[in-house]
C-alpha cells in the first residue's frame, strides 16, 4: 500500500503526522454513450489513477494544460463529482463513498474557490445573504451571531461592511474573487481547493489575491490544493507541485526542487514554454509538436509518447509507474535514467 503512494515516503521525516488528505488510485471516467440502446462505447478518462497527499498547513500545487483533468480532480476531492474508483481519505475517513447526509460534516472541512468570479456567485443574492447561506445550512441559528460572522468574513478578505448589501454585479472581478474566498472560509474549513483562482484577473489584482490567500493560510493554518495552468503562479504559492498530463500525475516534487531539477520531458517542455518577463533571456525553448491527445482515446503506454522527443517503442507499450527518482521527487517515465 505504502509503495503505491508517493507521499508516504516523501514525508518520512515526520512520520507521526498523518496527512490531512490522502487520495489513493482515484479515477473519474465520464462514460460516452451512443447507439440505439445507449451502450457505453468509450469513456473520457479525465482522472485516471491519481495518488497524492496534502499535509496540514501545506499548499500542494497542481499544474497542467486544459483537459488534463486537474479541475475534475479538484471537484472530485470536494465531492462535487462522484469518483469512479479510488479512495479519498480525509483525516483517515474515506469520503469517496459517503452519501449526501454522511458527507455533511465533511463539507464544512473541505471548500472550493472557483476560477470564474462572474459565474460562481449567485447574481440574485447580496454579498451578505450569500455569506449567510452556508452559516444557516450548517446550523448557526442565532441571526445576530450569523451577521457578526458575515461582517467578520468581509473584513478578513479585505471588503468593507458597506459591501454587505451589494449584489455581485456591483463588484469588480478582484472583489468578487474576494467574496468567493469569504464564502469558502465561512465555515472554518481545513482544506480549500483553489481552482484557477486568479486566471480571470488582471496582473495587479492577481497579486493582491495571491497575497490574501497566503495571509489567510498563515492566520488559520489552512491547507490548499492550488490548481493552475500557470507554472510561475503555482511555483510561487506551493510547497510541493504535482504536474498532470492526461489524467495522470507525471512528476511530483517540492516547488524549489521541481524548478531546479526537472526530469519528466513534459515538465521540461512546460518549463521552457514559460515566458520569463525578461527580454535579455534568450530562451532555449523545447517546442512540443502537436496537441494534447484526446482523453477519450489516450495513447497506449505512456500518455506522453506522441509528443515526447525521447519516446521509444517500449514507451507506447508499457505504462510507466510514478517512481521516486530522488528523495521526495517522483517521476513517471520509463526512460528517466537515460535522459536525466
Amino acid at each position: 500500500m505504502a509503495d503505491s503512494n508517493p507521499n508516504i515516503t516523501a514525508n518520512d521525516a515526520t512520520p507521526t503526522i498523518a496527512p490531512l488528505l490522502e487520495v489513493r488510485g482515484l479515477k473519474r471516467h465520464f462514460p460516452l454513450k451512443s447507439g440505439l440502446f445507449q451502450q457505453q462505447k468509450q469513456a473520457v478518462l479525465a482522472v485516471d489513477g491519481v495518488d497524492l497527499t496534502i499535509n496540514s498547513g501545506e499548499t500542494l500545487g497542481l499544474v497542467g494544460e486544459s483537459g488534463c483533468g486537474k479541475s475534475t480532480l479538484g471537484r472530485v476531492i470536494v465531492r462535487l463529482d462522484e469518483p469512479t474508483a479510488g479512495e479519498i481519505l480525509f483525516e483517515g475517513t474515506d469520503i469517496a463513498t459517503l452519501n449526501d447526509e454522511q458527507l455533511q460534516p465533511f463539507r464544512r472541512q473541505i471548500q472550493i474557490v472557483f476560477q470564474n468570479p462572474f459565474s460562481s456567485l449567485n447574481p440574485r443574492l447580496t454579498a451578505g445573504n450569500m455569506l449567510n447561506e452556508p452559516l444557516k445550512l450548517h446550523g448557526i441559528r442565532n441571526k445576530d451571531a450569523r451577521h457578526k460572522r458575515v461582517y467578520e468574513l468581509l473584513d478578513l478578505v479585505g471588503l468593507q461592511a458597506e459591501h454587505y448589501h451589494r449584489y455581485p454585479h456591483e463588484f469588480s472581478g478582484g472583489q468578487r474573487q474576494r467574496l468567493g474566498i469569504a464564502r469558502a472560509l465561512a465555515l472554518n474549513p481545513k482544506l480549500i481547493v483553489c481552482d484557477e483562482p486568479v486566471s480571470a484577473l488582471d496582473v495587479s489584482i492577481q497579486s493582491q489575491i495571491l497575497n490574501l490567500l497566503q495571509d489567510l493560510q498563515d492566520d488559520f493554518g489552512l491547507s490548499y490544493l492550488f490548481i493552475s495552468h500557470d507554472l510561475s503562479v503555482v511555483e510561487h504559492m506551493s510547497d510541493r507541485v504535482a504536474v498532470m498530463y492526461l489524467g495522470r500525475i507525471v512528476e511530483l516534487a517540492s516547488a524549489a526542487d521541481l524548478y531546479k531539477n526537472t526530469y519528466h520531458p513534459y515538465t521540461r517542455a512546460l518549463m521552457s514554454a514559460l515566458l520569463v518577463p525578461d527580454p535579455t533571456i534568450e530562451s532555449t525553448e523545447i517546442i512540443l509538436e502537436g496537441n494534447v491527445p484526446s482523453p477519450v482515446d489516450p495513447p497506449p503506454g505512456c500518455h506522453f509518447t506522441t509528443r515526447c522527443p525521447f519516446a521509444t517503442e517500449t514507451c507506447s507499450t508499457t505504462t510507466p509507474q510514478l517512481k521516486e527518482h530522488e528523495p521526495g521527487h517522483w517521476v513517471r517515465c520509463s526512460r528517466i535514467d537515460d535522459i536525466s
Partner: protein
C-alpha cells in the same frame, strides 16, 4: 543656446535610433476614441501617438479596460456601432492615407489587403457553419479575382504556411473539428492571405495553453520575417511582450504612460505603474528560498467615467505627491534618457528645463 544644440543632437540620434523615418508603416498622432454610453462619454483612447516601423513588433501592454483593444479597433475601423467613434487624431498608413477620414467602403478595401487582425478567441471569430477552407477562400475572393481552383490552391498553400499538417484534408474541416491552437493558425492564415503590411494581434495566445502558445508565437515570428509584415501586438502578458516586442507602449486608463524599447523598459521601468506591474508578476525564481510576498498595486483600475483629478494613476501610486492631484503630467522624454526615445507620463521624471 548650448542646451538647444544638445537637444537637437539628441533629437537626431533619436531618429537614428528608432530607424529611418521612411520606414514608418503606421503613424498614429493624437488618436482619440470615444464611446457614448448611457452614463456619459467614455474617452476610451485619449491622445495616443506612436509609430510602427517596417518589420518591427510593437507591443501595447495594459490591463483590461486600459484602451489597448480600442486602439486596435480604431485602427481597423471596427469600433462598436453606433456607440464608438474616432473623435480626433490621425491614423496614417503608409501609401494609403489617413484612415481616420476613410469611409466604410474605403476601409473594407484596406482591411485584409493592407492590414488585418487576429483576435483572442479563435472559436468565436470563425464562423461555425462553414468549413475553414471556405472561409479562407472567402477572404481571398474579396481581394483578388481568382478562379475557384486557384483560390483553393492558394488557401491550401496558406494552411501549409501556418504549419497545419495534411492541409488538403483540413481544408474541408469545420472549426469545431480543430483544436484551439489549430484555429488560431487558421485565423493567422486568413489574416495573412492578402500579405498585409500590418497584422494587429489582440491577445493572440491568451486563450491557449502554454505549450501551444509557444508554437503560435514562434509561427508569428517566422511569418513576420517571411512575409515582411509588421506586428502590433496587444497583450496583458509581460512575458509575451518580453519575448516578441521590440518597442513597448504601456497603457493605463486610456493614455500611454510609458513608451520604451523593450530592454530598457524591463531593465529600468520608469512609471510607477510599470514598476508595479513588473514587480507583481510571480516568477519561479522567487519561490526558491522560501515564501515571498508579492508586490501588489493597491486599489483597482478607476472607472473611465470617474477618473481621478490630475494623474490617472494617483489613487494607486506609491510615490504620489501633491502635484499629481493637481494636473495630469504630459508624456515626455525624461531628461536622463533622451537618446533612447523613451517617454514617460509622470511628474517624477519630468525634465528639469520644463519647470519654467
Amino acid at each position: 543656446m548650448g542646451k538647444l544644440t544638445i537637444a537637437a543632437v539628441a533629437e537626431i540620434s533619436d531618429n537614428q535610433h528608432v530607424g529611418n523615418p521612411s520606414d514608418v508603416v503606421l503613424r498614429i498622432e493624437g488618436l482619440r476614441t470615444e464611446l457614448r454610453v448611457e452614463q456619459g462619454v467614455i474617452k476610451a483612447v485619449d491622445d495616443v501617438s506612436f509609430t510602427l516601423h517596417r518589420g518591427d513588433t510593437l507591443g501595447i501592454v495594459g490591463e483590461s479596460g486600459c484602451g489597448k483593444s480600442m486602439t486596435a479597433l480604431s485602427i481597423m475601423g471596427l469600433l462598436p456601432r453606433p456607440i464608438g467613434k474616432i473623435a480626433g487624431g490621425s491614423i496614417e498608413l503608409e501609401g494609403v492615407g489617413n484612415l481616420a477620414d476613410f469611409s466604410d467602403k474605403q476601409m473594407r478595401d484596406v482591411r485584409g489587403n493592407q492590414m488585418s487582425m487576429i483576435f483572442q478567441e479563435p472559436m468565436t471569430s470563425l464562423n461555425p457553419v462553414f468549413t475553414v477552407g471556405y472561409q479562407i477562400c472567402e477572404a481571398i475572393n474579396i481581394h483578388h479575382r481568382l478562379s475557384k481552383t486557384a483560390a483553393k490552391a492558394r488557401a491550401i498553400e496558406m494552411l501549409e504556411l501556418v504549419g497545419i499538417p495534411v492541409p488538403v484534408s483540413r481544408f474541408d474541416n469545420y472549426p469545431h473539428q480543430l483544436s484551439g491552437g489549430m484555429r488560431q493558425r487558421i485565423m493567422i492564415a486568413m489574416a495573412l492571405v492578402g500579405r498585409p503590411k500590418i497584422m494587429l494581434a489582440d491577445e493572440p495566445t491568451t486563450a491557449l495553453d502554454v505549450t501551444i502558445q509557444a508554437q503560435i508565437l514562434k509561427l508569428m515570428n517566422t511569418l513576420k520575417s517571411e512575409i515582411g509584415t509588421s506586428i502590433l501586438l496587444i497583450t496583458h502578458d509581460l512575458g509575451v511582450i518580453a519575448k516578441m516586442a521590440k518597442r513597448v507602449l504601456v497603457m493605463y486608463a486610456g493614455v500611454v504612460v510609458e513608451e520604451a524599447d523593450v530592454r530598457d523598459l524591463f531593465a529600468k521601468p520608469m512609471h510607477p505603474y510599470t514598476v508595479g506591474l513588473l514587480q507583481s508578476i510571480p516568477t519561479a525564481e522567487h519561490a526558491i528560498g522560501g515564501r515571498r510576498r508579492l508586490h501588489s498595486i493597491r486599489g483597482v483600475v478607476p472607472s473611465m467615467l470617474a477618473l481621478p483629478r490630475g494623474c490617472r494613476f494617483c489613487d494607486r501610486c506609491p510615490d504620489v505627491h501633491e502635484r499629481c492631484h493637481q494636473s495630469e503630467p504630459p508624456l515626455i522624454s525624461p531628461d536622463s534618457d533622451r537618446r533612447s526615445g523613451r517617454k514617460v507620463r509622470c511628474w517624477l521624471h519630468e525634465a528639469p528645463q520644463n519647470h519654467g
